[in-house]
Symmetry: D2
Subunit: 349 residues, 4 copies
């Protein structure tokens, strides 16, 4: 932390600031030029609130210098982390695609979805059992029955399973069925939930909150890592801006930014990132071109009759075509993407 004193700050004011910093375990280095004093403070408690100095008399400006997270930082761990879901590895050379319906609705629906996404090259099946809905009058999910159906469908196709956990009380249940637990955007700062998941061994997919900046997002990852769970995958899914043609504004630049600041893998969710079916493929291509480690996409066998988010779910044929496009793009950044012979034959013939 660096504290710049006002030109007219008195010696007494400067001493009071120094005393306050020392009290919070900082080493303080003072330098003075012809105009003003500057205090460099290192060490100190990690969670120190810099605003406390900012409101002191005689202080002009305070610059917090070091990032407030540690385990999530690339400074702490320079090499990339890969997160294993069985034999599937997120964060390696291969781009990993997770796909499936917003909500699990019936055995037929999830079975058809699993077959379609597997055929096109997806490695993980997504599907909601407990749904966070902004209206209390909306469909809230099938609960454990959904998890059971999804696991069976995934096993039949050799897929892994990702599903959301909304509450501490659901962790044990969802962990029994899923290979990776999703923390939704609205729960990115649900610290009770994060703390509990940090104690779990199951990998976590941590979505970015719609109003979370990248530092806050990495601090939430820090909750998971500091609890002892090293298997964290980040997911960009759009932030809230003034532009409301799209549901959110997908922050594609978060991909290279996170890759510089952190060693954790990062994937992208173009379905929630845009909220509109015909924008999913362009934004999925953009995310991979920018270097994302994977995608999570809503695919539904019959989107027009989906019980939730049908408007942003794509048809299996659109997903096939998208995967083919991604196979062209991935090599531009030295990545590969699963080439299922069946899928390849299926598209464009």
């Amino acid at each position: 932390m660096v504290v710049v004193m006002e030109e007219r700050a008195s010696e007494e004011q400067i001493q009071r600031v120094i005393a306050h910093l020392v009290e919070h375990q900082f080493d303080v280095h003072r330098s003075t030029d012809q105009l003003r004093s500057m205090l460099g403070a290192v060490g100190g408690v990690r969670s120190f609130d810099a605003r406390l100095i900012e409101v002191m008399d005689g202080v002009q400006e305070v610059a917090r210098i070091t990032e407030p997270y540690k385990l999530a930082s690339r400074t702490f761990r320079p090499e990339n982390t890969t997160v294993p879901l069985g034999e599937v590895r997120v964060g390696g050379d291969e781009v990993i695609v997770m796909a499936g319906p917003c909500s699990v609705e019936t055995e037929e629906q999830i079975g058809a979805a699993a077959a379609a996404v597997k055929n096109a090259g997806a490695k993980v099946l997504r599907g909601g059992a407990f749904k966070p809905r902004s209206s209390p009058y909306s469909f809230q999910g099938l609960g454990e029955e959904a998890l059971r159906l999804m696991r069976a469908a995934a096993d039949a196709e050799g897929l892994k399973v990702v599903s959301e956990v909304m509450d501490v009380s659901q962790i044990e249940l969802v962990s029994r069925y899923a290979d990776i637990l999703q923390v939704g955007a609205r729960n990115m700062q649900n610290y009770s939930l994060l703390r509990e998941l940090g104690r779990s061994g199951t990998p976590i997919l941590l979505k970015r909150g719609i109003s979370a900046n990248i530092e806050e997002w990495l601090l939430s990852a820090e909750y998971l890592l500091s609890g002892g769970n090293p298997n964290v995958v980040l997911c960009e899914r759009g932030i809230r801006t003034f532009e409301n043609y799209t549901r959110n504004t997908m922050d594609i630049s978060a991909v290279p930014v996170v890759q510089k600041l952190s060693h954790l893998p990062i994937i992208a969710d173009p379905s929630h990132g845009t909220g509109l079916r015909d924008k999913v493929a362009p934004m999925a291509r953009a995310a991979i071109a920018a270097g994302a480690d994977g995608l999570i996409i809503e695919v539904h066998p019959d989107p027009d009759h989906a019980l939730s988010d049908g408007a942003q779910s794509i048809f299996p044929a659109q997903f096939d075509r998208l995967m083919a496009e991604l196979r062209i793009i991935a090599p531009a950044i030295g990545r590969s993407i699963c080439l299922e012979p069946a899928a390849y034959r299926g598209w464009g013939t």
Copy 2:
């Protein structure tokens, strides 16, 4: 909902949209001018996702017309709701001020805070027992001990108690000590928590999420109301914008907007709304001048040594002065504010 078809929409496309609407229980009224068809759709399921129509072929634009909440709407209940905390009523003619430290730290601290805010005219004591902190390395609150100390301090001064509940598992405990339960900004869309609080009889203080628009905020209130709990107080506490001189941008205009759309009382939190001690009083005055039903303010006997949020906590003497200013402002909008003789003597002499 109104659906505008493209000029070149075919009759078949129009019929397909009508069929989809009818399938979801809408009555559809079609009108056609020289250029295009317009479909007015009323009834229908409340949670219908208008984007499903937006993505259909031939559709140019869809306008959702009616608000998605009902019990929270002034259309449903034209007269103002007042929420009783014992003999204190939030939403009546009197402006209600809640004040106290961010976190409860010691018996002395909360006792001194209670005496100070009571003396100046506050009616409710605030204080955190469980703290949602963005860093896992920050002080996380004293838990039940904090609740016990705060209740005792409040009782000694004849104050009511407000405290935050972060998780379903804390509801029962906090309800034993507090008169009104706060749902923090980060939990505004924690639907598990909202659903459970809807079943509780205790009044709820529902803070606005930093990225929640007013409609989403009222939908979260709808979760509480539809669960059977009529005692909901809303609290504006700043939204996230590009301006970061202040921690958040306090949306003072939310006060008159909410008062038009809803019958629920609304108060303001200038401490979190600005994050800076010297901005608290100006924004508190602004909120009351705009018509807010009350305030919640962080006051600490020794802010420079507070364990959390000291930089945005004001000194008791600043709080005294602010209350005196509010007593001048409130009558401009036909409101009163508690006039404690002790407080009045204490200030300005």
Copy 3:
């Protein structure tokens, strides 16, 4: 500026950063703790782009410390500036209200508006001659004829005149009729215009751009001041956020923030700040309660038939009532507001 080097930065990288800073005329002070080097850099060219250091190898973070403006800063000039419009002074103890229609339409309209706002206590008549309209199909203003009519109406009532100048080519013309020239939000960073107005002697009302942060706004004021024009009044008029119930989100906290950072007077525009007639009075009261030096408000004798912005213009009777409310509020912050006997009699009888 403070530069923090990475832990693993080589001595060569550090030397390269120091050389770069010295090349740009900085004095560099290096301090090193057990972990890393920190470089304090003072002096240097005012416009130095700190990102140039940020992209150098071995650099972890750069904190720019001092504000990039000088003449607009309270550090440079501690006492408040008051801007004279003849005998009217903006920035003194008296709250100054500017009011009138969005556009000047006819002699009758501007005459009626002038009489009404004068009667209620306004000191300055506002009215547009050249209108910046987002649609090329909207009414664009009457031009010089509008200026002539407005000057006559103002003179008849003893009012000053404020009007917008959209382009360098209009400065000479508008200056002949107006006492203070408005720079609209969309032109806040039109540097050709600012540079030319800096050479003018006429006072300037500088509106904040809807996406300008406070630093950028003060930098635009710096353009005016550094050109030699000391008479600058700032005007908060709402920023663009995700909330779109209101046209903009009025940033009331900008009032105390600007008053801390700068010596320039600041007024508020609740008409453009909200865009909705029934929100104008609450936000006008809020701005004064927060400490604003004045207001600029759209008042129209017949808002429903206004050629522009009728929806955010208030009726003369609403303006009367608002002025009466402001007379109650102003003393709370030690300010007065014009008390016209005529106005006082006019309201509430």
Copy 4:
């Protein structure tokens, strides 16, 4: 426009709304269900301000239905527009890349930049002569001398020229040297400038304002088109959001959104979109993968000593590599990109 009346709206209130609409040349169609009346209004003046209806008594909500622009709309012109710069065509199958330094500094600098970008496959040379700088103390550009040097450098390499025009007074001058005139983000709503450029025959590159939504951007294009200039290229360059790790948040989804709403070509500017050198290539790849018709990129022979924006300028070798990556990506969306044999040999050997 559709007007929904309140349930309790009186017949008199409804008639007053109808009369108001008819007065503004709307045809009104009234439909009533068991609860309320709905008024569909078509025709009417294009610039009608819907808020005027919103503030009338008895009105619950107003939905404006049709876009306020016409000539820029794909409804008006279904096929893509291509904009010719001599034999170069923006908006066709070929991805067009514009590149060069932020500012023209010397003959050597612009000559080296022109050779480098030509060699890698760019078709247009960019360079600033008049610079809009947020600080009055920053380098403001070389003016006409810059234009002369840039034209000579471009001619020597067979490149077209793009340069910014900041003011009406510069149009004639810049048009003598440049093949396409850039309107900067800060001038997107400088209507004096837009109106004058609409009368010009020279193609225009219209950058999106940092706080402009897509509708406002297309309305600014409408100013140009309605003035008679059909040659408009749009350019996404980042919007302002709460995330400030990057200078702006590049809204990649604007590419497919604009392509749906409008027939005009759209390119992307990853240099200003991110403000950071190491984020330029990922975002350039993302924009092309999303379907952009081209790019404009800051390339400088010696970025560390650039007089402006050096931190976001890339080195020629980085530009070579980026162009090679784009050649892999473009075919994924059925596009080609210039393959200069020289460039191809130059990279990777």
